[in-house]
Symmetry: C2
Subunit: 334 residues, 2 copies
Amino acid sequence: MPELRKDPIAHRWVIIATERAMRPNDFPAVPIPPVKGFCPFCEGNEDKTPGEILAYRPGHGAPNTKGWRVRVVPNKFPALQVEGNLDKRGIGIYDMMNGIGAHEIIIETPRHELSSTPLSVGETQDVLWAYRDRLIDLKRDRRLAYGLIFKNVGRAAGASLEHTHSQLIATPIVPIRIREEMEGSDRFHQYRGRCVFCDIISQERGGGQRVVEENPHFLAFAPFASRFPFETWIIPTMHVSHFESIQKPEVEALAEIMKSTLTRIERTLQNPAYNYIVHTAPLNTGDLETFHWHIEIIPRLSSIAGFEWGTGFYINPIPPEDAAKFLREMSPAK
Amino acid sequence: MPELRKDPIAHRWVIIATERAMRPNDFPAVPIPPVKGFCPFCEGNEDKTPGEILAYRPGHGAPNTKGWRVRVVPNKFPALQVEGNLDKRGIGIYDMMNGIGAHEIIIETPRHELSSTPLSVGETQDVLWAYRDRLIDLKRDRRLAYGLIFKNVGRAAGASLEHTHSQLIATPIVPIRIREEMEGSDRFHQYRGRCVFCDIISQERGGGQRVVEENPHFLAFAPFASRFPFETWIIPTMHVSHFESIQKPEVEALAEIMKSTLTRIERTLQNPAYNYIVHTAPLNTGDLETFHWHIEIIPRLSSIAGFEWGTGFYINPIPPEDAAKFLREMSPAK
């Protein structure tokens, strides 16, 4: 009997196929094509990107030269632009505003790596610090409501350049799915007086069957109502609403669990395309009792049928309990 | 300057790239592979599908034999199953129920066509009558809240069999995006006392720059906040909430505008993969003043990046005014 499960935050329902449950080998591995051609993100090609916004340079070298560990540059083809006024206006019943915002690329390493997992834990920490530092900086621009950090790995996940990088899009509005999570979480808080994410963490740690990995600061788990095969969330076990509030011991713990969780996913599914998205509270709010930042990792194993993103109603051929077991049993060690 | 536009129904925002706007030729055509192998949907192979639920047989032949025009069969690998009880239950903070529902295939023609556009207007009418008849029948099952009719064309859109067919998934819950549309439309009605869809129709007909085609009963247009390039909606110009209320003159008019709009899309984009989804009111409600059924057609031209379906925040590289113009100027004539 298939199961219908409800996500306790956004209240979306998912069909979990329990009888013809698929296994990791049922998803054909798409080999990553060989490196060819010029890469503007590699060390030495700094003049091929727009000028850097931020770079970690241990040797204190000049901007836009060699010698960096992480480098943040504006997207050459930005979806939004920094200059100008919002100029909010109506056209009959429609509302619009100018596309003001920021679109930045976080180049995670000077080496031409196709994934972030070859980065050391120390290098991964630098990437996370760059996320934080950029959010903190963008908070000062009062036109911006939200800072969206995400990563596309592989063509099927929307990556156009293979050199491992993340993106940050800062927008004058809060994306609707984040707003839905916030509203769902608010309703839970009104009703039960607690943070729904904290309750999820408590239930998942108690049961354990959907846990992938855990350390003193973070939990990696397959959500009860996973929309996608091997969907995995990483969440701080202490309540905190904004990613940019992260402290040093947490950056260290997050780098470890990110590296090992992504390694488990890459090994189990033979280097799948995937996305991850940092779900954090809006830039322009103070600490929130009812939101809890987390990272959602979504392997792109099957094409999403039209009705799924048209309706928000997903069919997942792998129970999250099975997915978590496969990932848990895969060693992330070198 | 890119534009941020808000969908007036669901209140999602879309980035419309206005400066580097793409053209139809910027999306590489993926040729439809040649027909090969056995097709269980072709006339003569009726014993290779589960037994038919409904068929239009002008010659009054026996079920599951040749001589049909449209044939509806259960999906051989259903996402939901008809037998059993819902058995709603909680597991700690989580909610679930059994995967009760229906999953049916509407085989649109006995011929091995790869698209519905080679069907005559009369044959297309039969497909629409089949949609209606199945919804009317499923309404009697009080366990079911929603009947979701959709069509996947091409591998990139999730089709696994190429013989042109639609699907119907009936569920005990209302999909979240439909609920969002209903809630948004309710709020508009409370505030302005009218149906938001009716207001959209009025504004679009008045302006005309996003209109693709129009007939006495239906309007085909590119929505103001189109999420996807060449996204096109077909909507009845008279207010009606449920698809299954459709009357004969409307079926005729809908068959015409579906055939010509899909032909325009196929010619403009060189046979793209696409989905369409019928957005209709729930099975278990009476007529609603605040919902207005429509069909959303979404060509699958680019892979959807992770952040887009993770956040509901889309970047559309083609202004809908441009997309509508390309479609409007393409002849749908034979």
